[in-house]
Point group: none
Chain length 215, copies 2
């Protein structure tokens, strides 16, 4: 952000009360300008040609007619630079996931405060992804779900530690710094891991480690 640029905002929200709140919120910020506010996807699509291009689109996910999620690709196609923030009542797993897949840039609960919504708009402009904490929780559980069995390996404790870093793409120098040991030592461990796993390069060691559950 930094300078004095005025950011153009679109609002797509069918509930008249909440729509008005959003409008007020946006208009009270000096650096924002509400250039289009509609109550359905269909009306929003009409604005593609007649309204100023948005920098940020605030869109309700629970809209009559076409779902707010389905509309995202259209926005993205027409305005590739625009950020889309979804607003929702429910922190529903599937919806969150669908919206993220569709390319939403942020995901807020409607019960968020005005300040939080303003902050969210500023965050997306800065390239971040504002997410309500409750929704972030869902995302985290989705991410962490499913890391099964570890297996017995012929590697020593230290080698196993090194292996984990190798799999994460760390270079020898990075591992050296991380573990506070000489890069030469890391190199030695790496060679020993290669020998024990019968491989001869990074790619193979990573593939083997993951496939055999060594990490």
């Amino acid at each position: 952000m930094g300078e004095n640029k005025i950011y153009k905002i679109w609002v797509v929200e069918d509930d008249p009360v909440f729509k008005t709140s959003l409008e007020d919120l946006v208009e009270l910020e000096e650096q924002f300008e509400l250039v289009n506010s509609v109550s359905s996807i269909e009306s929003a699509l009409k604005g593609f040609t007649s309204k100023p291009s948005p920098d940020v689109i605030l869109e309700d996910i629970e809209l009559p007619g076409m779902s707010g999620i389905e509309a995202i690709p259209f926005y993205k196609k027409q305005f590739p630079e625009a950020a889309v923030i979804m607003l929702t009542i429910f922190d529903d797993d599937d919806r969150v996931f669908e919206a993220i897949k569709a390319g939403a840039d942020g995901y807020l609960l409607k019960r968020s405060s005005g300040d939080e919504i303003i902050k969210a708009i500023k965050d997306v402009i800065k390239g971040g992804a504002p997410i309500s904490p409750a929704i972030a929780k869902k995302m985290m559980s989705m991410l962490s779900g499913g890391n099964p069995s570890l297996k017995e390996s012929p590697l020593t404790k230290r080698e196993h530690t090194i292996l984990k870093f190798l799999v994460e793409g760390y270079t020898i120098d990075m591992i050296s710094a991380e573990l506070h040991i000489s890069p030469f030592t890391v190199d030695t461990h790496t060679k020993n891991i290669y020998r024990k796993l019968h491989v001869h390069n990074r790619s193979s060691v990573v593939a083997k480690a993951i496939r055999e559950g060594l990490v």
Copy 2:
């Protein structure tokens, strides 16, 4: 939250300057009480028996000695009710993922403001997962890019072929020979794959390809 309960906070941070900032921040809030502030995992572990149990643990991820991530399971075992918020300088994909897997409840950039950190603590107490917007961005890309069953790869047919060889540990020259194309071409494809998958070395591309079911 609601009532008058005082929440007990632990701080684990090795940088003395930032540590002091955190301490001040926590102590200035009436509903928080700083009950343990240390500069290493080892010291934190010692506090398990001697210090009051925490409701929230603020922990630097880049600590000397044992990694902040490795420590999470210990906290969770000893204090199942405590929420762990990780603090980091880098919004690094792999770290975020590792920390989430390990059970972190929140993930903040150190450049966050004092207000944001306080709000984060309140958020975890309410059961949310506070995440810096920049980190949420990473999580979203991991989610949207990271579901084997629901996702088509962004790679072209040829890139996908090359990727399979990379995962098998082939060098560029070997792939070049196998496909009867110039090694320069293989190099170009490889670079494009890296760009599309947001990685910068062989190890990472192999790990990502296997974990996301791209091969």
